[in-house]
């Protein structure tokens, strides 16, 4: 056993959050586990170590997925923050409406909406891709899925952003976001079946509660997790799709010519720019990794983006290559807590990529802005200066 390898960085520093990849590379070369005393945190930096930790909930507990005690307290009793065996039933309840088999019926509608939206934008000549596409599309899909409209839909962007932000440490961003995340929690605690569109999945969750298929009070929790987890992350992914196709026109051309590459292209977008920067675990015992000991009870941070660029696992990891098809990327996590919404995320993103490949010949980007954010890494602005319709 050797002393832990340390770094004096703050992993939530504004500059690191906006462009974390140079920091990831240096941490990853330092060690597979690096202690960050400023954050009271042990970060996992290499692919194999991250995947092993995600697959070992007995050693790496989800009771501390957030980086402040208030958010971990608030998440108690959800599948997100629980460990097997309690987790198993909560997860089944959460995911039964999100599995690929449950979502099959939605594909046609999602594809049509994506095609219509992208065709309209392609015809405009130039557009801002975050508000008009990356935010507009998932918010509409999730609103339809849960079955709400009106003021709730208007609040989805700020509620969804705040729900992710408060998972961070007690910095200013987290403190400013707690009241907004509270609005979302309040709405989810008070919403009733009658508030939601008949036939929607949200309405179905309440029906399941009435039938006794899921515990009393579970419906609100489930809807909270759909809204908290399914908005900001998908927005980040769709913005990243447009930005990466803009930066790499030859890669976009490959997808246009070969639409069967759509799933591989999305996997590569997720690998290249992870939508989630960091996620927490708690070490349940002293655990030794590559000679470094993480003490029992320590807060652990999983750097998905660092693992996704690990040259020990991916050849030329800093190259964006739609032919790579990295189906084992870490951006959806892995194992019992692997992203429950990944089927829906893929439906949405594949629909957008297919529509871009069909409706757009070329696109160029003139301006790109990211704001620092504790957990998700997304664009605030992405100006498509010129789009040529196909």
């Amino acid at each position: 056993m050797t002393a832990p390898i340390e770094s004096d960085i703050d992993i939530w520093d504004d500059d690191i959050l906006v462009d974390p990849y140079p920091t990831y590379a240096s941490l990853r070369e330092q060690a597979a586990v690096v202690h960050l005393p400023k954050n009271d945190l042990y970060v996992l930096t290499r692919y194999d170590v991250i995947r092993d930790a995600l697959g070992d909930p007995e050693t790496f507990s989800s009771t501390s997925i957030g980086f402040n005690p208030m958010v971990n307290e608030a998440l108690q009793g959800t599948s997100l923050a629980s460990d097997p065996p309690v987790h198993t039933q909560l997860r089944a309840t959460l995911s039964q409406n999100l599995t690929p088999r449950a979502l099959r019926g939605l594909k046609v509608v999602i594809d049509e909406k994506a095609d219509k939206l992208v065709a309209e934008l392609a015809a405009t000549g130039s557009f801002e891709a975050i508000d008009s596409l990356a935010r507009a599309f998932p918010i509409e899909i999730v609103a339809d899925l849960i079955g709400f409209s009106g003021h709730v839909k208007d609040n989805m962007l700020r509620w969804g952003q705040a729900a992710m932000q408060v998972i961070g440490p007690l910095n200013q961003r987290t403190q400013e976001s707690f009241p907004i995340a509270g609005e979302l929690y309040g709405w989810c605690s008070s919403v009733t079946a009658e508030d939601l569109t008949p036939g929607s999945i949200g309405r179905g969750i309440f029906d399941a509660e009435t039938r006794g298929d899921i515990p009393q009070g579970a419906a609100g929790h489930i809807i909270h997790q759909y809204l908290g987890a399914g908005v900001d992350t998908t927005i980040a992914s769709i913005g990243n799709i447009v930005a990466l196709f803009g930066h790499h026109p030859e890669q976009f051309e490959l997808v246009r010519k070969n639409p069967e590459l759509v799933p591989a292209a999305f996997a590569e977008v997720l690998r290249y720019w992870a939508p989630v920067h960091i996620w927490g675990r708690k070490a349940t015992r002293d655990v030794e990794i590559h000679g470094v000991t993480i003490p029992a009870g320590a807060q652990v941070g999983i750097l998905f983006g660092a693992g996704n660029r690990d040259p020990r696992h991916y050849e030329n990891p800093d190259t964006f290559d739609v032919l790579r098809n990295p189906v084992d990327h870490l951006s959806f996590g892995y194992g019992p807590h692997g992203c429950a919404g990944q089927g829906l995320a893929k439906l949405e993103a594949h629909a957008i990529i297919e529509a871009l490949a069909r409706r757009v010949k070329t696109l160029t980007i003139s301006d790109e802005v990211r704001e620092p954010s504790n957990i998700t890494r997304s664009h605030e602005l992405l100006q498509v200066e010129k789009v040529v319709a196909a």
């Binding site: 690929p100 189906v327 429950a340």
Partner: protein
């Protein structure tokens, strides 16, 4: 080796079927069916690939 499925954990993402179509498939209800569970030789690589890509770690290889 034998392919073992943790049925409650399987959510039907279908990546295993893409990795090893000769060994397993999703049925019409989206339930995973293991068509060939005892694997060796050339089939072992496909089985390992299927285990590897399962996003929720529902598959594993055990000694036959």
């Amino acid at each position: 080796m034998r392919i073992e499925l943790d049925r409650p954990r399987c959510e039907g993402h279908g990546l295993c079927e893409e990795a090893a179509p000769a060994l397993m498939h999703l049925d019409d209800d989206g339930e995973l069916v293991i068509d060939v569970s005892e694997v060796d030789g050339s089939r072992l690589d496909a089985a390992k690939a299927a285990v590897r890509v399962c996003p929720v770690a529902a598959l594993r290889l055990a000694a036959a």
